[in-house]
């Protein structure tokens, strides 16, 4: 290989440059931009653990949707035994009132565009809401 030293040095420099954000946040301990969803003030406990909701709320919502719409089942028993009515509009959004302050924060950050909002509504985000 010709110019092996230059190529390798160039590649190494390139790698360092494109991974710079990771090094930066590892060194300083803070990310440049971080999603900052606003948690409800009235309720401290979600349906499942915080970690599960972070990882898998979309799976939970899909299960809820299928159970309610297709199987006519409406009660969810969470891991700690609490019973909830399965409803995005009337259970989730009773606490997470503002989509823009909660859902959209991470979705926008991640470039996610879930189609929930084509039909479902939050109380504050739509013009003409009663």
């Amino acid at each position: 290989m010709y110019d092996k030293g230059k190529i390798m040095a160039g590649l190494a420099a390139f790698l360092v440059m494109i991974t710079l954000p990771f090094w930066y946040s590892a060194a300083t301990g803070k990310a440049g931009v971080k999603p900052d969803p606003v948690l409800p003030k009235t309720e401290k406990k979600c349906v499942e653990s915080r970690q599960y909701m972070r990882d898998a709320h979309m799976d939970l919502l899909n299960r809820w949707r299928d159970a309610v719409v297709r199987e006519d089942r409406h009660i969810y028993v969470s891991q700690d035994g609490t019973r909830y009515e399965m409803s995005l509009n009337n259970t989730c959004m009773k606490c997470h009132e503002e989509r823009a302050q909660f859902c959209d924060k991470c979705h926008t950050y991640m470039g996610e565009n879930p189609f929930c909002w084509d039909c479902h509504l939050d109380k504050k985000g739509v013009k003409g809401v009663l």
């Binding site: 009660i75 969810y76 028993v77 399965m86 009337n90 039909c119 509504l121 003409g128 809401v129 009663l130």
Partner: protein
């Protein structure tokens, strides 16, 4: 070289498989959907509605049931008949009961408008033609719609002989002039919608919105909702006591909206 490529492909394959398996496993930990009914939920072997046509016609201009339904379900008001959305509406007697119409029809019915809605057929053609199972018949007879799964092909609209289904040719939200109710979702462009016998109210122990308001405005018995399999239910007794007809029964769809004439 061959060996290392082989080893690389093996490792990569295992890694992909591992990642694919790990995701559902780590997500599987959570609670469960209960088989219990909601407290106070209304259940039936077979839901049906009886409409007392003559009592309804006493108030020809009444729109109480239509307004109650359309407000509760965020149904848009679109004037263009090619694009309009209807869950419950009034149709001329001639078009509603084509086989029962003739030039010498009694004055009280001729030229009058009859209340119509989804018939929640026992043998629903819409269900038969739906390619995605977005519409199906529940065990209690309600012909249900899953807007999440509807692809907007409109076969069901062609299949339904009663015109009970509407297609969203555009985003309906700008046309919800009465104010959107956030408790109930709207629909999106490109899906079909229709009456659901108010499944969201049944689980709260409430009858359909149209029946509830009708009984308040026009008096009890104008619209009667109930379990037709239960011989002691009001709807079953009414049908036993008076003569009733159904829309286009000759098609074999077994409609479950009964008209007391």
């Amino acid at each position: 070289m061959d060996e290392s490529r082989r080893a690389f492909l093996k490792t990569a394959g295992c890694a992909i498989l591992g990642a694919g398996l790990a995701a559902p496993i780590t997500r599987a930990v959570a609670g469960a959907v209960s088989a219990d009914a909601m407290p106070g939920e209304l259940t039936a072997g077979r839901w049906a509605i009886a409409v007392n046509v003559r009592k309804c016609l006493e108030r020809e201009d009444c729109r109480a049931c239509i307004d109650a339904c359309h407000v509760a379900h965020n149904v848009p008001l679109i004037k263009d008949p090619l694009r309009e959305i209807k869950w419950i509406w009034k149709e001329s007697f001639k078009d509603t009961f084509a086989a029962e119409s003739h030039p010498y029809l009694e004055k009280g019915l001729a030229g009058k408008n009859v209340l119509v809605l989804c018939n929640h057929c026992d043998n629903p053609p819409c269900v038969r033609v739906c390619p995605t199972k977005a519409t199906w018949k529940r065990p209690d007879g309600i012909v249900m719609m899953d807007q999440h799964r509807c692809i907007g092909c409109r076969y069901c609209i062609v299949g339904c002989p009663y015109g009970s289904r509407s297609f969203n040719w555009q985003d309906p939200r700008p046309f919800i002039t009465t104010g959107i109710k956030p408790e109930y979702p709207t629909r999106m462009k490109g899906v079909v919608e229709k009456c659901t016998f108010c499944t969201e109210r049944l689980i709260k122990g409430l009858p359909p919105a149209c029946v509830e308001v009708c009984n308040k405005v026009a008096g009890p018995g104008t619209m009667t909702f109930g379990d037709i399999r239960d011989p002691n239910s009001e709807v079953a007794r009414m049908l036993k006591d008076g003569f009733s007809i159904r829309r286009k029964p000759e098609l074999g769809t077994e409609p479950q909206i009964f008209y007391l004439v």
